[in-house]
Structure formats: C-alpha cells, structure tokens
Amino acid sequence: MRKPKYAIGFIILVLVVGVYSIVYFKLIGSPHKGNNVTVVLKSMNVRLDFWQAVSNGAEAAAKEMGLELVVQGPLQEGDADDQILILEDAIDRKPDAIVVAPIMDDRMPAMLDKIRSSGIELIVIDTPVDMNPAPVVVSNDHEEAGRLAGQTAIDEAKGRPTVAIIGDSADSRISAERLTGLKQAMLPYKDSLIGMYYADNSEEQAYEVAKRLLAEDNPFNTLIALNESATLGAAKALKERNKSGVINLIGFDSSVDEIQLLEAGVVKAAIVQKPFNMGYLGVKTALKLIHGGDAESITYIESNLITKENMYSPENQKLLFPFINNR
C-alpha cells in the first residue's frame, strides 16, 4: 500500500525539479557572475594623457561587459619598484585577470610568472615581454607604425628619401620595433638611410643631434624621430635653422606641442597610437581568457597617420585631444 505513494512522490519530485531547471536555465538564462579585472598601468598620473586614455578604454570595456574593474599604476612613469608593489597587492586580491603594462625591469618576468602561477589570467599590454610560454599581448603595432612612417617619408620625398633617424636608445624595444618597420618600408630604396642616432629620452639631446646633423655636409631630406621628445628636439633645431619646410620631420606620438608643430607645418606627419583602444581591447581580451575562450596570442592596435590636413577630422581630433573635460 505504501510503495506506490512513494513512487508518485518521487515521480512528482523529479518532474518538478526537471521542469523548473528547464525553466530556470533555458527560458530565463543564468545570470552572469561579475568578473574581476585589475589593470596595472605604467603610470596613473593624471597628466599623462596616454595612460589616462588607456584607463578610459579599460573602463569603457568594463562598463560594456559588466565587470568589476580596478585601474592602478605608479605615480611616476617608470617606477618599477612601485609597480611591483602594486602587482603584489593585486595578486593578493585574487582578481580573475590582471592586465599589465609592464615597466622594463629585471624583476618583472618573475612577477608576471607569479601572476600566472596564482591562477590569475595574465594579459600584457603596450610592451611585449619575453616569457615562456608567451603571454597574451595587446599592443600597438610598432612595426606597422614604423612602416607607416617609412611610407610617409617616401611619399613626402616624392620617392627619393634620404633619411636620418633619431631614437631614444638601442635598448628600447618600442623604438627597435619602429625601426624594424621603418627599414622594411625603406627596403626598396638602397642607401636612403644615412644614419641612426640616439638621444635617450631627452628633447635637449635630440635637439643637439639634429643641430649637428644639419650642420654636417650630409644632405638629407627626411628626419624621422622615433618618440615624442626626439620629435620636439628635432623640430626645435629645424625651426632654428629655418629648415621647417625643407626637411620633412616625421614624428611619433602626440602632445600639445607636437600638435602646434603640426599646425605650423614644422612636423610633416605624426604617427599616433590609440591608447583608448589598447585599454579597451586589453580588458576585452581578459574577459575572453576568463571565460576560457581562445584569445589571439597577440592583438595589434593600428596607429593613425596625422598630418596638418587631417588633424581636425572628427576621428583624429578625438585621438589628439582625448579628453573633453578641460583640466
């Protein structure tokens, strides 16, 4: 007599659980759990537009994906000690992923290894690092930027480029990549590269280098400056020597000074990165890794070529002046 009653109870229970689980998962769908992503930049200094734009991009992605975001970074750009401390702290908080723009330092590879061994997804942005296995990287395509600069030089010189290059240092990975791209673009033009000069990260040294180059009896029609300080230093020398219209100066990165030089025509063209996109794609890639999806081992972000003519186009305005709120 009791047995069938239990059987009914059991069948009903199974039915109820079955129906409700179908309703719960199929028709309504399970809600996404909020993921945690920490972004560690080279600097959080509000005066550094580049990193602020990266931060904005990361925030845009976080809002779109609905995840918890923490953006941190040392106050001084290049403060490796501080960045390592910040990373240690971030690891302790156990986020799902850490997006880091690593400052070059001997301790950094070990630090990045530690992130990975803590079971946190690691995404490297901006500066590629040597690690085994290679981390997922979201970076500006510096080689492509170099090619762009090279191509511009060729175009501006009407196919007869003779190019002098001022970079920061032989160790700089970004400069090296830009140079590689540049050389690739210049490959069809033998003997067009007359010299490679280093000026560290100093506007003053770049100015001296440019001045010396102009004084030498070694004609060249294009000067390519691989970073902002070199661009500014070279521009100063060109203006002094009244060579602004004669020698095509092609620079990298942007600042108000560089914008004015572009307007004045001293700088012929500037190759400008898209830091907002880097922050955005960095966080988006992090989310992909968290959900176990396949992420490209390296995501390149293109650069834009800015000239006097196109600098006030809606798109480039936004690139050159990323912040609407005046500070």
Binding site: L15, Y20, L27, K63, E64, P314, Q317
Partner: protein
Amino acid sequence: MPKERSIRIPLFPLKSIQSNISMAFSLLILAAIVVTSLVSYQVSVAAVERNSQGYIEEIIKQVNTNIQSYVDNMENISLLALTNKDVKYYISDNAFISAEDRRTYEKRISDLFQAILYTRQDISSIMVFGYNGRFVSDRRITNLNPNARLQEQAWYQLAKSASGKSVISAPHVQNIIQNEYKWVVSLSRELKSTDGITAEGIFLVDLNLSIINDICNNINLGKKGYLFIVDQNGNIVYHPQQQLIDSKLGTERISEVIQAPSGSSFNVNDGDGKRIYSVQDTNFGWKIAGVAYSDDLIASQDELRNSILLYSLCGLAISLLISVWLSHRLSKPIKDLQSDMKQVEKGNFDIQTEIGQMNEIGQLGRSFNLMVSRTKFLMEEMIHNQENKRKSELLLLQSQINPHFLYNTLDSIVWMAEQKQHEEVVLMTSALAKLFRASITKDQELVPIRVEIEHITNYLLIQKMRYHDELDYVIDIDEAILPYKTLKILLQPFIENAIYHGIRNMYGIENGLVTIRGRQTDDHIVFEVEDNGHGMTPEQLGRILQRNEEDNRNQGIGINNVNERIKLYFGHEYGIQIRSEIEEGTCVTITIPKLE
C-alpha cells in the same frame, strides 16, 4: 470499431486508483502552475520593460531640455551681440572709427562679452570677426592661432552660408585662439549691417562640450545602458565609445537613429544583446538616443524570477497535498468496499459495508450489501436443509432395532415359553412390543424425558431377562426433569454399548451394573450412563470418539452419531463426554438443554 483492443497501456501505469488520481491531479496542477508562472513572469517582465521604456523616454526628454536650454542661451547671447550697437559699429565697414576709438569699442565689447562669460560657466568663449578683418573676443588681448585660418573653420563657413541664421556646429576642438585647444560646440551667425542686407561679420559663441559630456555621462540607463547624440548628418556629437566606433571596433545604429522619428523607439537584438533605442529630436537638428539593455532594465529580474519560483513552488506543494488528500477521499469508499469484499472472500457473510454517499460507489455498496445478505440467506437455508436431512437420517439409523438383539430376544422368549414361564414371556413380549412401537412412531423427534425413560426401562427389562444375574441396572432419575423434552432414543445406544462392550465381555463376573442417572443443573439436564465393565484405554477411547459412520454396522449406533444429533438439535455447546478407566468402567455424560 477497433478489433484489437486487448492490450491498452493505461495513461498512468500505476496500481491503485488513488495513485492514478493523485498523479493526474499533480500533473494537471504542475502544468497549470508552470504555465501561469511562466506567463506571469513574461507579463511582469513586459510590464517592467514598458515602464522602464517610459522612464528612459522621460530621461531623454530631460536631457533634451537641458541641452536645449544651453543652446537657447547661446542663441540669446548671439541675439544680444546682434542688437548691440557697439558691435555693429565696430565691424561695420561704413563706420568711421579711428584707431583710438576702435580701442574703446573693443574694450566695451570685450567687457560686455566678459560680463556674459562671467555669469555663464558653460560658455568658453565669445568672439566677433568682422569681414573688415577686425575681431574682438571676451579676452582683453586676443592672440589668434597663426596656423589656424579663419575662413577654413567649419563654423565660419556654415554661418556664412546660412546668411543670418544661427548654426550649431558639431563638437570640435576650437583652435582659433593661440595655445587653446578646447572641445566646444560652436554657435555662429552672420551679422548684418543696420540695413539688414549687407553681411559684415561672423559672431561665435563656444559652449564647453564638457557640459554636454557631463549631462550625458551622468545619465544612468542601467549598468550597460548609455546615451548618445548624433547630428543631422550622422556625425557623432557625443558617444561614450566614440573612439571605438572611429576605429571600427564598435558599431552604432546611427542610420536607424537618424531615420527614427522623434519620440519613437525601436528594438535591436544582435550579438551585443537585446536593447531598446529611444530617440528624441532637438530643435537644432541633433538627435538624442538612449540605449537601454533589456536585462539591465529589469534590475530585479533575478528577484522577480526567484519570487515567482518560490510562490509557485509553495502553491505546488500545497496543491500536491490537496491532491493527495482529495484522491484519498475519493478512493477511500472504494478501498473500504474492497476490504469488505475481502472479508466476504474469507467467508464472513455477516458483513455489511457502510454506505457514505449515494453516489456510484454508494450504490455499488448497496448492491454489495444486498448480494451478501442474499448469499447469506441462501447459505443458511442450505445448511438448514442439510441439517434436517441429516437429522432424519440419524433418527432412522438409531430407530432401527439391532437384528441380533431382536433375534436374541425372540430366542429368549421361545426359550422361556418352552420353560412355561408365561409371565416372563408376557412381560418380555410386551416390553419388546413397546420398544418397537417407540422406534416406529414417527410423530415427534422430541419426546418428554418420561417417555425416553419408559423406553430404556423396557429395553433394560428385556436385557435383564436375558442376562439374569450377569446384568443389574439402576435408573436414578430426578422426578423434576421428567416433563422436560429430550431427543427420542437418546440413551439407548449408550446402554447398549455399556452392555455389549462393557459388561458382556467380563466373563465370570456376575454383577455387571449399569447405572442411568438423570438430574438437572441451572440450565441443563445431564444424563449419565455408567457401567462397571472393563473400561477402555485412552487409545480405545480416542478411537471411539473418532469413529465414523462406516463402523456403525458392526459397532451398533456410533457414539458420534448421537453426539452429532444432539449438536444438530441443541447446538454445539451440548453433547457427550466419556471418561473411562480400564478395569474400572465407563461413564458417558450427556448434556442437553432444559426444554419445556
């Protein structure tokens, strides 16, 4: 008609009706609750969506009003400049103004602009450019950007082509003043001379874009929702992800927004999720679009779903209990009837099932009761008939005079006649005659004890005359019991047994004694037939009691038959008891009721 309907798998392959009913109920209830909770969930979601959509429209209207008020303000400032005599003179070609006068005009206009700017934080600059090359701004000293050509500025060209109407530019970086790069929205307008025909200059008011930016940024349309503005050409005025759209990392449904009329909304469901676009037009050509994600709108979607789940589970539990109870109630009469039927199966015909309600089951119970009582009646009748038949059989059996006895008695009579013992012959013959008469009279089964005593007296008289000294007998009957009724020929078989099996076998012993006693107790009459013969072993006794009818031929009338007769007539509590001891004798006790 289907021919093969032998095997039909039932809908609910369960054994009891209760299980089937409760199963059916449960399934129905489950289905009903699932459907209603799903429907109510969908309905509430739709309601919430509708509400939030109205709410979003309100917000966008609010944003529209806000932005409109800033634009109106710029418009007012431009009207102020338009009507200002100083401005008119200053840019007028005809006006004859010396260089020194110009300075005072400049100062007056600049002061005016400054005063305006001072009260309005949202305005970043106010400027007038005369076609005569003069210009004045809100700054005391205005250094124009030498690399920015005035005529190439979009706002300048637009104002010129609009000839006197004010135009609103797209957001742009204002680079006309040296070292200043501010994001602004420009309102510009061509200024006419007093005659209203000749164009004399361009007036410019710049609104800080941060104002619009802040307004839009502070709008919260759920976690992921946002607001964006496009101008009539589809250029983005404000979009939180403008850079992504510029670099083709993101897309926006700008063409759809441009085509959508003011106050309308449309749904989009693509890889980025289901969302609603609400569009509002501004007076000056911009379109404000609010984008809200459906899953964001219903902030308490989980809560809603969980509460619906909870309530429906509670409802389900309660209704399942009710269904079990209901099915129990429905099936209980059937179960009761079933258990009563089981009783009948076991042979209990006294049962009458209880009839609750006069529904189908009640009628079934009534029919059952009817059937049982009818069966019981028939069975009792049959038993009664059988008993009667048996009674008459037994009577017939016991009424028979043992032929040996008859022969022996007649032999004795002949012998006595030869001896010329006339008196004894007469006595014995009359006793034999009485004995016969008693056994052939068929009138009644029950006779007074008196008649039965006369019968055994006759019998014992004959036997005494045959056995002389070998047999003695005592009849000791309570006078009071003589009127009571007893079965005919009740005692004779026991006396016969006592003589033939008890006493006759004791060779050489002279004084065999048969004692017949009759007395009454409160309810019963008890007879005892005792002999002092040689008795029986317990085994023999056992055999006698088990002896059946077949033995009767040899053993006379079986004790069992007498016992059976007593029980048939008087019931099972009556009957005989035998106690016997070897070499001591046997005593048979016969108990019958007192019958008047």
